[in-house]
Symmetry: C2
């Protein structure tokens, strides 16, 4: 059986007209002799409305009941899609997660799919039916509804693709693929036709909002080809696949940026062993993730400056923790939320010398000062002043010829 998993996001099923369009898309795969498994999110806005209700009921709404509440949205979307396919003369039905069942582990609001019983769906596929499955949810060992914390319906789609050994998993969303950089920031950003899991992971972690990193990671681990495309346009999307499948890889595949980082500098820290640990341990304990770190060379062998970045939302907490930490001595504490992290990403980087230099040079040419640097095998990130974001992206996009 040639199986394809199609996942439709909230905007793709956002109103009746769009649901009818989704039925056309499903039908086109069916005509191509695919056995189609459909996973859907709730209609856009529905989940938000339910969440709003929950907040009005209680500021401490039961997590178990929250999952019962919000999971109803996917149930509605499933029935509407299935009914539309039936209307078109196809064999289809909704499959709610408890009817399959999809078994999850973990706590309410934050479960993950552990097992999918294949029997019912396989039988149904073989009978020529198109199952429409509720995304974002499952049931736990007590038979209660749970929702998937991270990745939501994308995670459902990828796990279904894994369990049913699907040829590919198509993620229909409101953007038509992954771009070399945010097209809202740079008009000449180009759609990436093919990208490796690793690059996509960096792109996603560093700001491209097409898919959540956890879902890409799941796809990578299970070697599932993902196609990201728009349900509103017919043109091809972006294929996320393993490196081997990518023949003509560029040095740099894309540029991403985030603007929700904040820079913290401790001026005049005593330069002795263990001081960094003393600073970072209490942050880690409080679930504050430290991203980039740079420590200046000590000029006098006694004192140094330590700079690191955190998420802006953790700024207040970080301030409190460091200020109240009696174990560390420093002269001054500086916070800077006015920063932007720009990253260039590409699997070709590791085999191409001089990429770092080209990046720094391109930024220097535009008189953009680099505040902090961090690198991995396939990405280089720099922290710059927020006001230079667009200028930096344009410079790097040109430097690495991403519009070609």
């Amino acid at each position: 059986m040639k199986i394809v998993v199609l996942k439709f996001g909230g905007t793709s099923v956002g109103n009746i007209k769009r649901i009818k369009n989704v039925a056309e898309i499903i039908s086109s795969y069916s005509k191509k002799n695919y056995k189609v498994i459909v996973v859907t999110s709730a209609m856009a806005g529905v989940t938000n409305d339910l969440v709003k209700k929950s907040k009005e009921i209680s500021d401490n709404f039961s997590h178990a009941e929250y999952d019962v509440l919000v999971s109803s949205g996917e149930q509605v979307a499933c029935s509407l899609i299935a009914a539309r396919l039936i209307h078109k003369g196809l064999k289809s039905r909704s499959w709610l997660s408890w009817q399959i069942p999809i078994i999850t582990l973990g706590s309410y609001k934050n479960s993950r799919i552990n097992k999918i019983n294949k029997d019912n769906i396989l039988k149904y596929l073989k009978s020529g039916g198109i199952p429409i499955i509720t995304g974002f949810q499952g049931i736990n060992f007590e038979g209660r509804i749970t929702t998937i914390g991270r990745g939501g319906s994308d995670a459902s789609a990828i796990m279904l693709a894994k369990f049913f050994k699907a040829e590919k998993c198509v993620i229909y969303t409101d953007v038509d693929g992954v771009y070399t950089t945010d097209p809202n920031k740079l008009k000449k950003a180009k759609k990436i036709r093919i990208i490796s899991y690793e690059e996509m992971l960096e792109m996603a972690s560093l700001g491209a909002k097409v898919m959540q990193p956890v879902s890409i990671q799941d796809a990578r681990l299970n070697r599932i080809n993902i196609e990201v495309k728009s349900s509103f346009k017919k043109n091809p999307g972006t294929l996320i696949t393993k490196k081997k499948n990518i023949i003509n890889s560029k040095i740099i595949t894309g540029i991403s940026f985030t603007q929700n980082d904040a820079k913290v500098t401790l001026v005049g820290v005593k330069d002795k062993p263990g001081v960094a640990a003393m600073i970072f341990k209490p942050l880690s304990k409080n679930s504050i993730n430290v991203d980039m770190v740079v420590q200046n060379i000590s000029a006098n062998g006694k004192e140094t400056d330590l700079t690191f970045t955190i998420k802006s939302e953790d700024l207040k907490k970080t301030k409190k923790i460091i200020s109240e930490n009696k174990k560390i001595n420093f002269r001054k504490l500086i916070f800077d939320g006015n920063v932007s992290k720009i990253s260039i990403i590409g699997v070709g980087m590791v085999t191409t010398p001089g990429v770092t230099f080209r990046m720094f040079q391109a930024l220097a040419n535009k008189k953009i000062n680099i505040q902090v640097i961090s690198t991995s095998e396939i990405k280089i990130s720099v922290l710059i002043n927020k006001k230079n974001t667009s200028k930096a992206i344009t410079a790097l996009h040109n430097e690495f010829k991403l519009d070609h």
Copy 2:
């Protein structure tokens, strides 16, 4: 265990404020040492919105998917009520029909509850929990969601009361009980404190919209005491119970009326055996329910006039069937939609002579002409001109002293 089943209708859970109020009501029963089982409808308006969506998807929406679609409304209401009780420090959770399960028979959109597995709920009640159960639905032998055709959530509540041997079943709705007649029609209508199943059945069948006849019939068969009351007011409602429990029964308990009947008269029908059957058989075949029938005495032994009533909505179909029926000869066909059926109802009627006379006299005094009559052991119905509806109700309400 002293069990009470509380059922909340759509308006009772119509918004967040009302759901909070419902939680207060549930909590008050819990404090009185009742083991409380709650059944809820969907929030008012939600089901209508889903039905609207279904119509936009298809004019022939799959019945199975329809049930998946509309049943989501009760799921939402359940989780909100349960979460509110948890917020108040009580032990509660939603129980979806498939989690219990509640097993139904019959077709989609029109199932009936066949069996309720008591184990899960009993265990939960014994642990001190308050189960909040989705009304209006169950699952069939295939494990698919079904909705209850007639009676909806009321039927769910009564079946739960039956299976759990509840002391009573309280139906919370937007009216505070059953009245001697429609208070919108007659201001001095009085709330009936206690009424027999049989009377309530007639009241409901004949126009009182508090509960559906099928649910009252279920309650009667299973001897379940029903209390109908408002979730918005604290005052007592109406108790529907067996005749034995009613000590001071009046001759007449209430007056109901319907205005959706139509009168059909066949003038000059050949007066021979079997003619009525020839007329009514094709109507019955087409699911047209004939209610009242009167045949005039034949003046010449050859011809007679036959009058009967049907629901107004069947008028067009009836016209077609009779006109196209070559087997019956008549001179003229008269339709009259301008009629109103007024009924007086009371279990005391059967042991009290002269009730019919008093009814006719009271109407005659107001110069109201009676067109057709039909009677049962506990009710007398008359068909009159629609314009006289209010006048007739007032006259009968006075005649039988229903405001005392």
